[in-house]
Amino acid sequence: MTILVDKNTRVLVQGITGREGSFHTKMMLEYGTKVIAGVTPGKGGLRVHGVPVYDSVEEALAKHPEINTSIIFVPAPYASDAVYEAIDAGIKLIVVITEHIPVHDAMKFINYARMKGSIIIGPNTPGIISPGEAKVGIMPAHMFTKGPIGVISRSGTLTYEIAYALTKAGFGQSTCVGIGGDPIVGLDFIEVAEMFRSDSETKALVLIGEIGGNLEEVFADYVLKKGYDKPIVAFIAGKTAPPGKRMGHAGAIISMGTGTAQSKIEALTSAGIPVAEKPSDIPKLLARVMKG
């Protein structure tokens, strides 16, 4: 078992004819992901790496009702429209790769998706990979391998780095979920951890956080209060990073001193989650907690 994507995942690529959409369609196909169709308005009838292109999601789904997942490469100004189209068409998992989507747009479509029962991953996510089953994202696949570790990350390349370290150390991954690097994302650490909780294949979690926001602190609090029956290790990037933009008094009132690497590391540690000093330490830590 894995979470979110697996062998039954049937993918629609929105923005398939663009540079990135087309390139990663090829990469996903090479990985074995079932990419069924693509959408680019006005390009209906084309084929991209053998995948048929349609003018609208509605048309694509009429022809390929088995589609259950969409990955979005549409440029930021048009991305939210593409997300709405996917939600309204009833697609239940939507992976939004696009970065620089205006935060008010993201906030709206994420709330709308929730209302309609769709899951949004991202925006600004590298996507999801369940090694050996399906990759719905842009990560370099050779750095990932099948195994018992669930990975949840706010980062892109740092996830690849850590996944690669895990792979080299013999820790394969059940599913790696990039929740997205934007301030507002569709799923947070807790929601993904809940999915991993009931995934029998996942034996331990790696959580990759970074400075800003307080998703990590909220997650630590959740683990503390609700407990988590699988070992977790974490890494937080940004100990030496410049302080983030100050969002007026409101930002300070809401964050209440959270948001720094130190606050996150302390919160996680207090919740019994060991935090690695550097990415290369994660496999060691993992070996320790999985034994213990």
């Binding site: 990135e20 390139f23 930021a76 100004p77 970065e99 620089h100 205006p102 935060v103 008010h104 747009d105 906030m107 709206k108 994420i110 709330n111 590298p126 842009i138 990560m139 370099p140 750095m143 990350s153 706010r154 980062s155 892109g156 390349t157 740092l158 690849y160 780095e161 690669y164 690097g181 301030p183 507002i184 947070d188 990759i208 970074e210 400075i211 926001g213 307080n214 998703l215 909220v218 890494f235 990037a237 940004g238 100990k239 030496t240 990073a241 410049p242 933009k245 100050r246 969002m247 007026g248 008094h249 409101a250 930002g251 300070a252 009132i253 809401i254 209440m256 550097k278 990415p279 290369s280």
Partner: protein
């Protein structure tokens, strides 16, 4: 992007929110044209929260005193930023200071209104010590803000007079409209003053707009050209499409992806170095972008050595390698450069760099260790 206070107040005014009468001056001579009635507030237009404590806000009792203060403040440096503009406003007779803001709550994924009857400089202290004095109300971003919500907030911060409640509601509604129309990350008034005459006046106003939404707001994008919280190099970086923030250390860092770049900085620190910057070339950068990034670090005299750490997914190693070499060709400065490259077209990248004697590192830890050694003069071998 944070707007200047006077810009925020112009927007407030255009939406019918009362602000103090005031003028902006940029030259000392303009002080003679000021026709406001003292006492006056002189406020340095710099986006720094602590400008009050740093002497950037001064109250004057007369026009003579005004001239004196203006000539003292204008074009000085406060908190590292040059004061190019002063906002001069008529002082307001304060009966009570309220706090009112709209921002986005990341965890709830919704806009939130914060309101308090204990506004003013100590609001964060209030939040810490008496959190119940700050009303936090989440807004459904799809249906929007309804009047009953504002009315409830008004009651909760202790307003009872019905005309005052109406006034508060209309100011909060206007701030919400600014928040949504201009796609703000923050709209804040602290203090929102209740005057002795029983009117609300936004004595301070702060607007932070979402940079990602500026393409829809031409009028705001124009403001962006001006020098703001960014240094010249930071602005140049934005033009080239990467993110650059200067720090105090001596080791220049280039990475792709914010997480990896920060992790690289942390690693340099871990091995005893100090990062000179954060520089994220983003995803899928071409040689041109890499070249400009490397050039910025080569030309920064504080940078003693450079660590490039690229994990290719979208980003191609050969483009990165080419970018490094082009930078070295264009700039006649030599510093130790350590390159760690993994991923797409790694071999091609290695081949290109080996031609100029730059070795490729496989491992991030080793690369970080090495650049620290080189900068500390304990090693050699990289091109210098």
């Amino acid at each position: 992007m944070e707007l200047y206070e006077f810009e925020s107040k112009r927007i407030f005014m255009s939406k019918g929110i009362p602000v103090p009468r005031g003028v902006v001056i940029e030259r000392i001579e303009d002080v003679n044209k000021v026709t406001l009635k003292p006492p006056l507030m002189v406020k340095a237009q710099i986006p720094i929260a602590s400008r009050g404590r740093l002497g950037g806000i001064v109250k004057v009792k007369s026009l003579d005193e005004l001239k004196h203060v203006v000539s003292r403040l204008l074009n000085t440096v406060i908190g590292g930023l040059k004061v190019r503009k002063l906002l001069i406003e008529e002082a307001v007779d304060i009966a009570r200071e309220y706090y009112l803001s709209l921002t986005i709550d990341r965890v709830k994924r919704k806009p939130v209104i914060l309101a308090s009857s204990e506004g003013g400089v100590d609001i964060e202290e209030v939040a810490r010590r008496e959190p119940w004095k700050i009303i936090k109300h989440y807004i459904d971003p799809i249906i929007g803000l309804r009047d009953y919500e504002l009315r409830r907030i008004a009651f909760k911060i202790g307003l009872r007079d019905s005309s005052l409640i109406r006034e508060f509601m209309s100011i909060a509604r206007a701030m919400y409209n600014i928040f949504t129309e201009f796609e703000c990350e923050l709209v804040e008034s602290n203090p929102l003053v209740l005057t002795v005459n029983g009117r609300f006046v936004a004595v301070d106003a702060k607007i932070i707009v979402d940079d990602n939404a500026l393409f829809r707001h031409r009028e705001l994008e124009l403001l962006r050209r001006e020098c703001r919280e960014y240094t010249e190099l930071e602005l140049k970086a934005r033009e080239h499409g990467f993110t650059y923030v200067e720090l105090d250390g001596e080791i220049g860092i280039i990475g792709n992806g914010a997480g990896l770049t920060m992790a690289t900085m942390d690693l340099v620190k871990y091995y005893g170095g100090n990062p000179a910057n954060f520089l994220d070339i983003g995803g899928g950068a071409r040689a041109e972008v890499v070249k400009e990034a490397v050039k910025i670090l080569l030309l920064n005299p504080k940078v003693k050595g450079i660590l490039v750490n690229i994990l290719g997914g979208i980003t191609r190693a050969d483009e990165v390698a080419r970018g490094v070499i082009e930078a070295l060709n264009e700039v006649n400065v030599r510093k130790p450069i350590i390159v760690r490259l993994k991923g797409t077209r790694e071999e091609e990248g290695r081949r290109i760099l080996s031609k100029v004697g730059i070795p490729l590192y496989e491992d991030m830890d080793e690369a970080a260790k090495r650049v620290v050694e080189l900068v500390k003069g304990e090693g050699s071998g990289a091109r210098s």
